[in-house]
């Protein structure tokens, strides 16, 4: 499988000297083309930090990220990010359609009419037909996150990075949006990295789960989830392979919680 993204020994400390907080302690993993990879770790372990480093939004202290074989130093063409804070990541002065189209500002070779059409298509793909001319602040949280997802998909990126996109929506909406995301990833053959603290979500969504330790965070281990691309909220969650994977991830998170030394403060 072609490797799209590779992280090698990513480490990141915030601050310097005595007050330094070592967040990432040398994280390595890779993601292949068409894969859906979940990265799961407890809150505060540095998932956002890691995702921003992968996206070229924030420099790691040491280590490298390569995207399609090239080192990432700034946000590369072909990587889109869906942020956790969806309400702030959309622009209130733009209609939903314009927000999605704005995801393509720096996409070359598309006229503004084509971008508009593409935005329309993506809004329909996330189930928001009829809301194109509304503004993000006229939508519920889940719908706003759909707009952000549509924006991420519209830029025709090779890699979609999702930072706990469903952490702030209610349970029913979350389940619906998990299926929506899976459906979209399959339809657009979109390579995805989903970062989450929710173990069940990580397993349900992914072809492979990367389990993180607590700070200073490293990769504890990886598990392949051999449940096929087609998932179902009821049957998949009852499948013994799902339950085994869930058990495995929870055990390792629990043991890293008790075994790890107190973080350097």
């Amino acid at each position: 499988m072609d490797v799209v993204l590779e992280a090698r020994q990513l480490a990141k400390a915030y601050g310097v000297g005595r007050d330094a907080l070592q967040v990432l302690g040398g994280i390595s993993f890779s993601v292949g083309k068409g894969e859906f990879v979940s990265i799961v770790g407890p809150s505060g372990c540095g998932k956002t930090t890691l995702l921003f480093a992968l996206a070229g939004l924030q420099k790691a202290s040491t280590g490298t990220v390569t995207f399609n074989g090239r080192p990432v130093t700034a946000p590369p063409r072909g990587v889109a990010v869906v942020f956790q804070d969806y309400s702030r990541s959309l622009f209130p002065w733009k209609s939903n359609r314009d927000n999605v189209a704005f995801g393509m500002v720096r996409v070359e070779g598309l006229s503004s009419v084509q971008k508009r059409d593409k935005a329309q298509e993506m809004l329909e793909a996330v189930g928001l037909q009829g809301f194109e001319d509304k503004y993000p602040w006229q939508l519920s949280g889940g719908m706003q996150q759909r707009v952000a997802i549509a924006r991420g998909l519209a830029s025709q990126s090779e890699l979609l990075l999702l930072d706990e996109p469903l952490a702030a929506v209610d349970a029913q909406t979350r389940a619906d949006m998990q299926d929506l995301l899976l459906d979209l990833a399959m339809r657009f053959k979109q390579t995805c990295i989903l970062v989450t603290h929710d173990v069940e979500e990580a397993v349900y969504m992914a072809d492979r789960v990367v389990v993180l330790t607590r700070r200073p965070t490293v990769v504890d281990h990886e598990i392949a989830i051999n449940l096929g691309k087609q998932r179902d909220q009821i049957t998949t969650r009852e499948d013994h392979r799902f339950l085994a994977a869930r058990h495995d991830v929870m055990m390792s998170i629990r043991s890293s919680r008790t075994a790890a030394p107190a973080t350097a403060a």
């Binding site: 921003f52 996206a55 939004l57 700034a74 946000p75 063409r77 990587v79 889109a80 990010v81 942020f83 804070d85 702030r88 990541s89 622009f91 209130p92 002065w93 704005f102 995801g103 500002v105 720096r106 001319d133 509304k134 503004y135 602040w137 006229q138 830029s155």
Partner: protein, 256 residues
């Protein structure tokens, strides 16, 4: 679309009417040309309005020119300074100092460079209008939520694109505050500058009437100035609500 609902608008009229009546009564009792009542002022307005309107034209043109110069220079500069954190923090004390300086105080300095003509007056007006514009724009641009920058960077916007497409619209609510202050300031300073650098305009008219103890005529001019002020203020507010519907979360589709 009006700011006040109808009932409130009518009740807002009560106080001015009462004040006008009290004023008229006091003027009758004083019965001297140095204390004209609203009746005499009305007569002055009737007699002099062609002249007043002509003079106000000059005043408004200069106020508008000064405001435009200030807006074109100070809004982009404020956005830029908000991004260039170090330059901004170096310039900040200078801005604070300029903000405390009353615009008429700069008139002698401006006269040195620009003489006493239109250019000088427009420069003074631009200075006065520029202060609230840059202060508010800079403050807004400086305090933008970091999320906006992250999104801009992840969409691979260039610096200039970020400033134009994100920083500027995101700063508009505070810029609007600056605009309101700047418009008021431009009108005020426009009249003041005319009184100091006399040639024409409503300020000169006003000064002349007062020098000749034509108090009623002077008050007529003042009535016109305040009316213009109210109209301009109302226009600015309407424009603001139209452009910033997203800030006030006005539902466009339900409103019309």
């Amino acid at each position: 679309m009006s700011i006040l609902p109808d009932r409130q608008r009518y009740s807002a009229l009560v106080l001015p009417v009462v004040l006008l009546l009290v004023w008229q009564v006091l003027a009758w009792r004083a019965s001297t040309p140095l204390f004209p009542g609203p009746g005499q002022v009305a007569i002055s307005i009737w007699r002099l309005y062609p002249q007043i309107v002509g003079q106000i034209g000059y005043t408004l043109m200069r106020a508008a020119a000064g405001f435009l110069v200030a807006a074109v220079v100070m809004i982009p500069l404020g956005i830029l300074l908000g991004r260039l954190k170090t330059v901004g923090s170096v310039l900040e004390p200078i801005l604070d100092m300029m903000a405390t300086l009353p615009p008429p105080a700069v008139v002698p300095i401006v006269m040195l460079f620009a003489g006493t003509g239109d250019a000088a007056k427009i420069a003074v007006i631009a200075y006065a209008a520029g202060i609230p514009l840059i202060m508010n724009t800079y403050e807004a641009s400086k305090t933008l939520h970091p999320m906006a920058t992250l999104v801009a960077r992840s969409l691979r916007l260039r610096r200039l694109e970020t400033m134009v497409f994100i920083d500027l619209p995101a700063s508009l609510p505070m810029i609007a505050t600056g605009v309101r202050l700047a418009v008021a300031s431009a009108l005020l300073v426009s009249v003041t500058a005319e009184m100091l650098l006399a040639t024409n305009g409503i300020g000169v008219f006003l000064q002349r009437q007062q020098e000749n103890f034509q108090i009623a005529n002077g008050l007529a001019a003042i009535a016109f100035i305040s009316m213009i002020g109210l109209i301009v203020n109302d226009l600015v507010q309407r424009l603001e609500r139209r452009l910033l519907f997203w800030h006030y979360r006005l539902d466009l589709h339900n409103e019309r």
